[in-house]
């Protein structure tokens, strides 16, 4: 789907959403929390995503595929027991934050960076970080530039509304150097600016750049510089005010990490049903008491692992083909940063 930027597409939905919410203020008396109530009433989770191969992209049949997409399906399993009860919508980095505030999305799985101002000023809550990333710079090879510091005076494309727009300004301020930004909202135009040589370089999360580079007409003419300008911990983002929804997001992600730690995969999960380990019995719902006491279907974690796999499987399925190394995104037991709190 092509995205046509419009003046205030976000605004009008904000307004429409306010009307809807205004109606529900008077009618709802539920304990699940406003977002979860809406999800259940609708029968599907609304997820805002980007379009980067490996992370989120429609395949040849128009079906969304990718690392973040699998987390959307996992959420649908936790809530509905069905990986298909989820709607993915592409939205520009600029539009999606206000859209989440306005309730147009239930969750953003679009590579949103956890930052303190998004937590306090935008009123967001974040699930566990699912991808530890850093901001990179993609340049034309023929410029002969080998490090970011050599870009003094360059024209650099930034995508509006991203942390990258802010980080690059900080980077040059700190270095005491100058650059001219060309700030573009729409992703296609952003890439196009690099290909038409309107800009010398573009900057975004390196996850984004690796994926977008594969889409360039001549990927080999461009190179991602070695530096990472920032920490970009990417996590599911939701609007504040619904604690139960937040916990569902938290533990859905944790389940995929915990499963990898235990070595449970989509292939062998049925064998684990026979496990004598009480923790695994509780996790897979062989012992239903834990799930029952927290109000989830006993088979929720089992179904997630069976349908989308554990963290490592999700990573390998979508990101390995692009040449991604696990890097920081290894389990803590392997020296990485992924760590699930205990399921008890």
């Amino acid at each position: 789907m092509t995205f046509i930027p419009q003046l205030g597409a976000g605004w009008s939905t904000a307004l429409a959403a306010s009307l809807v919410v205004a109606g529900s203020i008077f009618s709802t008396t539920s304990f699940a929390g406003p977002t979860l109530d809406k999800i259940k009433e609708r029968g599907a989770i609304k997820v805002g995503v980007g379009t980067t191969p490996g992370f989120f992209a429609p395949d040849d049949n128009g079906r969304w595929q990718g690392f973040f997409i699998d987390y959307g399906r996992a959420l649908a399993i936790t809530v509905f027991g069905d990986p298909e009860k989820v709607e993915f919508t592409n939205s520009s980095p600029q539009q999606r934050l206000p859209a989440l505030q306005a309730g147009e999305f239930d969750v953003l799985l679009s590579g949103v960076t956890v930052t303190i101002s998004r937590a306090f000023q935008l009123g967001f809550h974040f699930g566990p970080t699912v991808f530890y990333d850093g901001q990179g710079i993609l340049v034309r090879k023929d410029l002969g530039v080998n490090s970011a510091a050599e870009l003094d005076g360059a024209t650099i494309g930034v995508q509006s509304g991203t942390t990258g727009e802010l980080n690059i300004a900080d980077f040059f301020r700190k270095a005491g150097k100058k650059f001219t930004p060309v700030t573009i909202e729409e992703t296609g135009e952003f890439i196009n600016a690099l290909e038409t040589n309107r800009v010398d370089a573009i900057t975004q999360d390196s996850s984004d750049l690796v994926g977008k580079r594969t889409q360039l007409k001549k990927p080999d003419d461009y190179v991602i510089l070695p530096e990472r300008l920032s920490k970009e911990p990417l996590a599911p983002a939701i609007a504040g005010g619904d604690d139960r929804w937040l916990e569902i997001v938290n533990w859905t992600v944790n389940a995929t990490i915990q499963a990898e730690e235990w070595g449970i995969t989509s292939k062998n999960v049925d064998e684990f049903l026979k496990s004598e380990d009480p923790a695994i019995q509780r996790f897979l719902g062989v012992d239903p008491s834990l799930a029952q006491s927290i109000g989830l279907d006993p088979k929720w974690a089992y179904t997630i692992i069976k349908a989308v796999g554990n963290y490592g499987e999700i990573f390998d399925r979508h990101l390995k083909p692009l040449g991604w190394d696990r890097g920081y995104n290894r389990l803590w037991t392997d020296g990485g940063l992924l760590y699930s709190p205990p399921f008890r």
């Binding site: 605004w11 205004a22 000023q121 509006s160 509304g161 729409e186 196009n192």
Partner: protein, 397 residues
């Protein structure tokens, strides 16, 4: 005195009762219900907005305007750097909007009037070409046209292979670079001199207009002489005036004045789109003037150019002006499509502001307020002009 005034002939103002009645119209109850409904709706929206903000833990208010905006803006009329407050960023965005809208209105008018007149010139080829232009431009979406212009601007060669003329003008996909006039080192004397010149120029214009002895040509000539004389006189006060030529250095062309591809594309798009609208308005305006006027003028021995200038246009302007006003307003609003091609206009800065501060409602309120103010002032200026052409006709000489 006051007694006499009361008995003056002409319209008397209706009494307060009559006026209130007129205001309420024939169905006061229905009116009242509508007003109440509107107030209720606004209240509901406001209450809901503040409830949502409270749920998200956001403090409403405009305090964020003085916080620092940590992003850069690609081009700005005023100096802006990351770390300056949001008000300044928003002002920079507003000035970018005003800049493109003002140039757009002027250029669209010049092109539109020329096209409108050309279409009626009686030359079949010319008229057909104008017709095609108008139809094509009017019947395709502006957004599409903007994408065309930006693609065209980006198709120019990169800076190192820029097309250049006399080493002073560069045409590249980073924009058009022209020499910039640099005036520096202003001393107090410089300001005194400039002030003096401005005041006497104003007096001169005023006096000339009063006696209406100033022809267009003579006025322009006087202005030109004055500008040149000023240019020569300024260095005497210690100020320096010079030309800064653009030169290729490093990645980019530096120095001189840069018209960015985004600005150029937006300006071209708005100019072309609205020149077609204005051409139609001008054509309609001219055709609304009775044929008899042409014939009468011809009998008086005026030739075609004179008839157009002295007889037809002044009357046509009464039709043209109000319609052109709405074209100007549309042009100003449509400049917000800038976001699509990456020109940092008001909307783009406001979006980023909402995005980084979380104060979406306040940002939206600023956006609405500023566009309203902008359009009301365009309207106001055009109405002043309209009153002049409508009541007194145009001074021609």
């Amino acid at each position: 005195m006051s007694v006499e005034a009361k008995h003056q002939p002409g319209l008397t103002r209706p009494g307060i009762v009559r006026r209130t009645a007129a205001w309420w119209g024939a169905w006061p109850v229905a009116q009242m219900l509508v007003v109440a409904a509107v107030i209720a709706l606004v209240y509901l929206l406001g209450a809901n907005a503040s409830a949502t903000m409270q749920r998200l833990g956001i403090t409403p208010g405009f305090g964020f305007l003085s916080h620092s905006a940590n992003f850069e803006i690609g081009e700005s009329v005023i100096a802006f750097k990351a770390g300056d407050p949001y008000v300044r960023a928003i002002l920079a965005g507003l000035l970018n909007t005003v800049k493109v809208a003002a140039f757009g209105c002027v250029l669209a008018t010049i092109l539109g009037v020329a096209l409108g007149i050309a279409g009626l010139s009686g030359n079949v080829l010319l008229a057909t070409l104008v017709r095609w232009y108008v139809e094509i431009v009017r019947n395709t979406p502006l957004l599409l046209q903007l994408f065309f212009w930006i693609a065209l601007a980006k198709a120019l060669p990169p800076p190192r292979q820029a097309l250049s003329a006399l080493d002073a003008l560069f045409l590249s996909n980073r924009g058009v670079y022209v020499p910039a006039i640099m005036a520096e080192n202003f001393t107090p004397q410089t300001f005194w001199l400039l002030g003096l010149i401005a005041v006497s120029y104003g007096l001169f214009l005023f006096a000339a207009c009063r006696r209406s002895r100033l022809g267009m040509r003579r006025g322009l000539l006087a202005t030109l002489v004055l500008l040149i004389a000023t240019g020569f006189a300024l260095p005497a006060t210690g100020a320096s005036i010079g030309l800064e030529l653009p030169v290729l250095s490093g990645f980019n062309i530096r120095g001189g004045h840069n018209l960015t591809p985004e600005f150029a594309a937006l300006l071209a798009g708005l100019t072309v789109k609205f020149s077609a609208a204005i051409a139609e308005i001008v054509r309609a305006g001219i055709q609304s003037v009775d044929r008899g006027q042409w014939e009468a003028a011809r009998v008086l021995g005026l030739h075609n150019g004179q008839i157009m200038r002295l007889v037809v246009l002044p009357q046509a302007l009464r039709v043209i002006t109000p319609l052109t006003t709405s074209s100007y307003l549309d042009l100003t609003k449509d400049s917000s499509l800038a976001v699509a091609i990456g020109y940092p206009d008001l909307v783009s800065i406001i979006n980023t502001t909402a995005n980084t501060t979380g104060q979406s409602f306040e940002a939206l309120a600023i956006l609405i307020g500023v566009y309203l103010a902008l359009n009301l002032s365009v309207s106001f200026l055009m109405n002043v002009y309209n009153r002049r052409v409508a009541l007194k006709g145009v001074h021609v000489r």
